[in-house]
Symmetry: C2
Subunit: 178 residues, 2 copies
């Protein structure tokens, strides 16, 4: 069965700083039509970096839309036309002040395929050198280094809930054989 839904019309409801909201009408496989709400997002990266003591630089950031702070791996949005790997190098430096000698791609994540088109590229970074951070103007972060094994426990006990962080920690655990 061909599951494809075809766009019959598309209306831009909002074009903002980060996201664009579209309200489309789609033709379904059964010949009926349905409204499809689509949020366009530039996509981004998440970086699981491990230092030579087995610790991971993590950021705590107030997430306005959740109304609370979250513990997350360093991450950020792609700038216009920026390749994901370039975003990863930039964000690791900006958020935790680190450069890495070794980068291992860990695949991509679709955050929420129902209505939100964000794709996140995950990287494992090693061979770290730490210097000054350079956060975005409107970005306030606390950085700390946490032992990798502790992160795995905090993912598995449900304390860490950010999806990219959960995926990156568990992919890295398997890749590293830990």
């Amino acid at each position: 069965m061909d599951l494809t839904e075809k766009t019959l019309s598309s209306e831009v409801i909002y074009k903002g700083k980060i996201i664009t909201l579209l309200k489309d009408t789609a033709l379904l496989p059964n010949g009926r039509t349905a409204v499809r709400e689509v949020v366009r997002h530039p996509g981004g990266v998440g970086i699981l970096a491990i230092d030579d003591k087995g610790c991971v630089p993590m950021v705590t950031q107030y997430r306005y839309c959740m109304g609370k702070t979250l513990l997350e791996i360093p991450a950020g949005k792609r700038e216009q036309g920026e390749a994901p790997f370039a975003t990863a190098i930039r964000e690791l430096k900006e958020e935790v002040g680190a450069t890495a000698e070794e980068w291992v791609p860990m695949g991509s994540l679709i955050a929420s395929p129902g209505c939100y088109d964000e794709v996140l590229y995950l990287y494992l970074a090693r061979g770290l050198t730490f210097g000054a951070t350079n956060p975005d103007e409107d970005e306030f972060l606390d950085m700390e280094r946490i032992p990798f094994e502790e992160l795995v426990h905090r993912v598995m006990d449900g304390e860490i809930t950010d999806a990219k962080t959960v995926a990156a920690v568990l992919k890295a655990k398997i890749l590293l054989g830990k």
Copy 2:
């Protein structure tokens, strides 16, 4: 440092079938203000169910906002006032026709904490009995059962990209000691 951002104003840009878009102005820790775009989503569940042969019922669904089909664990949105566990029982039955004797909570996921407030509750389900499916009116799914070990490989080689599916498969791998 208190990282809290306080709401100064909030405007409803769009209230739709699934999502609501708000454009807020927030007071930042440094005393400046910033626009915060917030997409409200009802949240949902994802279920990693394993049958007595070690196979997992998976759904392939056209994801309009991504313009392609994706392979995902059974999942769905919470209805108004519905407890996550009730959603999980309902969605497993609707999407793959299964009921389960044993349910193990696997924590929650925040899909994309920058602008999207969706929270997904993950479950591991075992002791499955399969009957008829009952998909939503506008939902078209292909269901197949895939060996759990094969799913782990397809997550690790980057073929499976849906975040809830990646997280659920890898959490289950650790929980089950596989």
